[in-house]
């Protein structure tokens, strides 16, 4: 259910006045739950970075015990038991974090520029450019997202790069739609017309004047996109189209599907818990961000 984009699209334009960002920040500071969620996300990000640079849980693919050893308190690597080769499930969860965060980040890095750019030029210029962009994203959004992802991974082959690209190339649609709507509203506002009369170029009007005023949608979108990226990675891996040769949460859950009936629950539990908190944090933070950035809902 892609309800998120529908809600943001319904938002009304901001009343001007005190800086939106500082206002929102002040509001967020009061929201203790949002601060907690931010902290959780920061911790996840730090874990991901540390794992990336080999500071913790390295190497993940060494044997630390017997195959399918249940969780025990003997040592840190064994705290979530071992997998089929006797590797530490805990280390795999840590590296799963690295992959999940990287999927979210790279997918966003690909999709946000596309979404902002296409949304902006469509909304700003209108005419045939607008029609082309709208046709393009209506086409893509008419294909069920999961089928589109499946088709792209079939076409690109398997692996992390394919996932980055598949998610990045589909996730921009919601953002483009919102940005386009905002640009249509903003382009006739006084401040833009004023800029025009001062001789600002199209590019400077788009990027220097209007964009800063609609950039909060990018932030809301970012948190939503992380959630959907992480979940999509799990589903693709479950369908056998996901990450290869690395311990992603999706791969772990896929493995666990078979292992569960022999009583090996810890791999499923580890991946699920790892995923649970970060998705939870992004979900709640996304809500708080929207509440904070949209003064209409209190």
């Amino acid at each position: 259910m892609s309800t998120a984009s529908a809600t943001t699209a319904d938002l009304k334009p901001m009343p001007q006045g005190r800086s939106l960002m500082s206002d929102a920040l002040a509001r967020l500071k009061k929201d203790r739950l949002a601060i907690l969620c931010t902290a959780i996300i920061v911790i996840y990000a730090l874990i991901a970075l540390a794992a990336q640079f080999g500071l913790i849980a390295t190497p993940w693919d060494v044997v630390v015990g017997k195959a399918y050893q249940p969780p025990s308190f003997d040592s840190l690597p064994l705290c979530l038991g071992t997998d089929i080769f006797g590797r530490s499930v805990f280390y795999k969860v840590i590296h799963g974090t690295r992959i999940a965060m990287s999927v979210g980040l790279v997918a966003s890095l690909i999709s946000i520029p596309i979404g902002v750019f296409l949304g902006a030029i469509a909304g700003y210029f209108g005419g045939w450019i607008d029609e082309l962009v709208v046709w393009f994203y209506t086409t893509l959004s008419s294909i069920p997202n999961i089928m589109l992802l499946v088709a792209i991974t079939f076409a690109l082959g398997k692996g992390l790069t394919a996932i980055y690209f598949a998610l990045g190339s589909t996730a921009w649609i919601g953002l483009a739609r919102v940005i386009r709507g905002e640009f249509i509203k903003h382009k006739n506002r006084d401040y833009v017309i004023a800029a025009d009369s001062l001789g600002a170029t199209h590019a400077s009007r788009i990027f220097k004047h209007i964009l800063p005023n609609v950039s909060h949608f990018v932030i809301i979108n970012l948190s939503l996109q992380f959630v959907s990226a992480i979940k999509s990675e799990v589903i693709l891996s479950f369908l056998g189209l996901g990450v290869q040769g690395q311990p992603s949460w999706g791969v772990m859950i896929d493995d666990a599907k078979l292992e569960l009936s022999r009583g090996v629950w810890w791999q499923l539990a580890g991946a699920t818990i790892g995923m649970f908190f970060v998705v939870l944090a992004f979900n709640i933070l996304g809500d708080s961000l929207r509440d904070a950035l949209d003064p209409k809902i209190k």
Binding site: T3, F154, A155, G240, L268, M275
Partner: protein, 311 residues
């Protein structure tokens, strides 16, 4: 009005063309060559050529694309590589089981979510609101696979309350098989719906007219039920109506794990078997349903809502 509908219908054509083009490029141009998988283990070069010819893989891509457009129009997608069945028959056969699961599950979810949504929106900011929202987010953040594996093992096998898996096409027998999948569907999707309905209602709560109503001295229940609710129905109904054509997609995981022979499990199998014609047909079908579902919603809105202007 009629002109409006015709204009909308014409507007749909480039979208369908675009969808067809994207699907074709992904699955027929950059996707793998299916001949080698079909030819079997005892292949000869000669057989491979014959097979290519028989299935038309040796035709130029534009010709293949025209053939595909023809398939869309005639609803004849050829045969599955994996089951050799006619794909249109597979689709028709899958609709019944899919809807048996999807319709009750959808109605139940919507009804329950609407009730909870109203409750928490009315008590917004109170503890009951916060607890419910946290529960919803918790439910959303867990993998649905966990619910399925646990439900099947515990409720069906250990307690024997439901059949483990399977399907009967008898009018009443079928419901014992879909009971547990429906339950899981409701649990998994409740969180999204409640959150959405709550937000939709709250957005309305902050409109100017509500402030005016309050200022007039109307009691809170009166404001809420008389004004807020009535107007927040627009986005809520939109959301519900838009989801209806998507129901036919079915649920990949629920159908596969519970052996319900619907469109979801057909799609899942097709992905596992790299059964390109079926993947292509299912993707096309779902896209078309989405496009026409949207179109229908659009048209109906112009009929019932005077605020939506004909342009």
């Amino acid at each position: 009005m009629f002109v409006h509908i015709v204009r909308k219908l014409i507007g749909v054509i480039p979208i369908i063309f675009g969808v067809a083009l994207v699907i074709f490029i992904l699955l027929n141009v950059v996707g793998g060559d299916p001949t080698y998988q079909m030819v079997g283990k005892h292949a000869t070069v000669h057989q491979i050529e014959e097979l290519r010819h028989e299935y038309g893989f040796d035709l130029p891509k534009p010709v293949q694309f025209v053939q595909y457009l023809k398939q869309i129009v005639t609803f004849d997608y050829g045969r599955s590589y994996a089951t050799k069945q006619r794909i249109s028959d597979m689709i028709v056969g899958g609709i019944g089981p899919t809807l048996t699961l999807a319709i009750p599950a959808f109605i139940l979810t919507t009804f329950i979510a609407l009730c909870i949504g109203l409750l928490v929106a009315y008590y917004r900011g109170k503890w009951i609101d916060k607890v419910t929202v946290v529960f919803c987010v918790f439910g959303m953040s867990l993998s649905s696979l966990a619910y399925i594996l646990f439900g099947q093992y515990f409720f069906a096998y250990k307690l024997g309350w439901f059949p483990i898996s399977g399907y009967e096409s008898g009018m009443l027998e079928r419901f014992q098989y879909v009971a547990m999948p429906i339950l899981i569907w409701v649990i998994v999707s409740l969180g999204y719906d409640v959150r959405f309905f709550r937000t939709a209602i709250l957005e309305e709560t902050n409109q100017d007219y509500v402030r005016t109503a309050r200022a007039k001295g109307l009691t809170e229940p009166r404001v809420f039920f008389k004004h807020v609710l009535k107007n927040s129905m627009v986005p809520i109904v939109t959301n519900i109506v838009i989801e209806i054509p998507l129901l036919i997609l079915g649920s990949f995981l629920l159908e596969s794990f519970f052996g319900i022979p619907g469109l979801g499990s057909i799609t899942m199998d097709a992905i596992h078997n790299s059964d390109f014609p079926v993947i292509k047909a299912m993707t096309t079908l779902q896209s078309l349903l989405f496009i026409f579902g949207n179109l229908a919603t659009d048209v109906i809105y112009t009929l019932v809502d005077p605020r939506v202007k004909l342009s």
